[in-house]
Amino acid sequence: MKCRYACGSVEHVIGRRAFLGSLAGVTGLGTVGFFTQPAVAQAMKRQQKHLLVIYLAGGLSQLESWDPKPGTDTGGPFRAIKTSVPGVHICELLPYTAKQMHRMALVRSLNTRNVDHGMGRYQMTHGRNRGGLNVPHLGALTARLLHPKEHPLPGFIRVGERGNIKEAGYLGPEYASLGLPDGKLPPVAQRPKGLTVQDDLRRHDFLRRVNDHFLARRRTAETEAYTHSFEQALQLMEQQEAFRIEQEPQKLREQYGDHPFGRHCLLARRLIERGVTYVQVTHTNYDTHHENFNFHLEQLGEFDRTFATLLEDLASRGLLEHVLVVVMSEFGRTPRINERFGRDHWGKSWSIALAGCGIQHGAVIGKTNKNGTEVVEREVDHGHLFHTYLRALGIDSSGTVEVNGREMPIADPAREPIEELLA
């Protein structure tokens, strides 16, 4: 269903959940140890780090989330509530998330100087402004730097979105994402009836021999990518299990929420648990030019419980020490409330949230003024954040990556990490 209220951007084309459905069945959460599964936690002893990005498409309002300004001309109707970190308050639309604040950190002083959806999406996931250099998406970059080469699962998966073949930039499409728009492996990943594994492997052996004949004479980056894609496909078919959230306990599935975002977050955890390096889950409909408050009540109602469940689940499995979780949008929303009770695009003073590995838990970086119209302390932008994510994952963000014999800086050399945010 197309949303009639918003500005007509692509962020709105995807259907939204009914409001009542999202609030139905809210029950207690946060019982320590509820999710504890020591066996799985043991399996996570490895050193591999992961990045889980929750992308709130359209532009989450910082005022209805991480940087509330109640009682001011820009504050809107909602209150601020206490969190599990003394002195840190967030919007009352996030009661479950508030209880997870001791695992999280906030950056409240983002100025990205942009109000365009496409540019914002690019900035926040590439760490630079769109320009001449074809730099890779954060997912492609981390897949290249952190994902074990022979891992049967892809390094970069988007849940709730299609993959984008251009996003790997100069790293090449090999590092582009596998997109799972409806949170499932596409039907084409299943062998049809009548094609047994044995038959299939046998013909692939024959295929390799046929290829060897050609490759002995001419071998290029393109031919390598082509033959590699078949090996990837074979491996992926062995990994159907990783994508089956039906195998999760019913109770846990309820906690995550019986809606696409809930299922997608649960899938994300499953994939990360099985070694995928970067997972991006999209939650839509934050582009609230009209009815900002109703929309945030609705959307965050769905987001809040799922997100809190996700952090609790990751923590109880011992995964949170290995996973950096980032909640981001392309920009924030105007402090000024427009005549349609909406807020418009705003890049001048907004916030993001982080959780998990490599960061100071409970930290709040930067400050905006009384009614949120300006950053007054520790202004940062997407470039600083990009460095910070990489460092939190144990990567030297001032380093380079080799592309066709050239050393390319992995993050904007004109920026540096937010040191006080790092653990």
Binding site: R203, L207, V210, S229
Partner: protein
């Protein structure tokens, strides 16, 4: 950044490389030569696009003619002199600037005769080079921008689809059926039998019907193999999903089902493995198999008498999925 406090100066329309041309001020009633309606295309008295068309035809703008030349070059050679095609700016200079200038000028000289331009490219030594470098070939000349070895050019999604249909004999069978259907009309049969020109017209009709009936298969391929819409499709990429589509998709499977006269049907009738290998390689890769390949085919068929059809289907699939089939070489 949208800063509404700064009033922008009004910018006049300006053809590439030329002077700004102010739109003439016409009274509203005279704006159109033909006033448009739901079924009538409007014709304006003054058109900016027409101004642009004149600039293009004059050939005085160096960037425009070179850009057109570069794109046509890339179409033939698999890579632009300026590459990627959409990065035409001073930080991305052409690999052979003199050549590009020459090509741009030639385009204007021939009044943008694209057919003639492409013909010249096809006759060039660059185009006719082999894609196989040979054992002693200097490594630095393998660099794609040197054009010393012909590039391996991936088939476009549409080319890939039609090539697979042709290789599997799918279109051969369909073509015959369509031709028979058309000729079942006695009037058409009489007309066609008149002369060779009308014979060719029949073949065109057959082709049209074939494209109409089978063209939708190209869409499935485009979904998997095409780049994002609106972007120049000049970057090759291979994904696991493409491979899964070939591996498990129903389209390819249906083409590997024996039907009267198609490749699988023909191969099933070849009892001698050597003849089978020949027919298969000629049909799919348009070349004879090497002695080793003949042996590999015979080996593959060994002990597969019970499921011979399956074994042959597996081999044909492998040839369709091969690097050799995927790239124009």
């Amino acid at each position: 950044m949208f800063d509404t406090s700064v009033k922008k100066e009004r910018v006049l329309p300006c053809p590439p490389g030329g002077e700004a041309i102010a739109d003439p001020k016409l009274p509203k009633a005279e704006l159109y030569l033909v006033v448009g309606s739901a079924k009538v295309r409007p014709v304006p008295r003054y058109s900016r696009r027409e101004q642009l068309a004149q600039v293009v035809a004059q050939g005085t703008n160096p960037f425009l003619k070179r850009n057109v030349a570069n794109r046509l070059w890339a179409l033939m050679m698999g890579r632009g002199l300026v590459h990627p095609l959409d990065f035409y700016h001073s930080d991305n200079p052409p690999s052979h600037p003199e050549l590009l200038e020459l090509l741009g000028d030639y385009l204007v000289q021939t009044r943008y005769d694209l057919r003639e331009f492409l013909r010249q490219l096809a006759l060039s030594r660059t185009y006719q080079r082999s894609s196989t470098p040979g054992p002693q070939f200097p490594k630095e000349l393998l660099e794609p921008s040197r054009f010393a070895v012909a590039a391996l050019r991936p088939l476009s999604p549409e080319q890939l689809a039609w090539s697979m249909m042709e290789a599997t004999g799918t279109t051969t069978v369909a073509r015959q059926r369509v031709r028979q259907q058309l000729l079942s009309d006695p009037r058409l049969r009489d007309i066609v039998s008149l002369d060779s020109k009308r014979q060719r017209l029949l073949e065109e009709m057959v082709q049209q019907r074939l494209v109409a009936a089978w063209g939708r298969n190209t869409q499935v391929f485009a979904q998997h193999y095409a780049g994002p819409s609106g972007e120049s499709q000049d970057q090759f990429f291979a994904t696991a999903l493409q491979a899964l589509f070939l591996n498990n998709g129903s389209v390819i499977r249906s083409w590997l089902t024996p039907r009267m006269g198609n490749l699988m049907d023909r191969l099933l009738q070849k009892k001698d493995p050597d003849q089978l290998a020949e027919e298969m390689y000629l049909s799919v890769l348009t070349r004879f198999p090497t002695p080793e390949e003949r042996q590999a085919v015979a080996q593959y068929l060994q002990g597969r008498d019970q499921d011979r059809q399956k074994a042959i289907g597996e081999m044909v699939w492998a040839l369709l999925a091969s690097v050799e089939f995927r790239f124009n070489h």
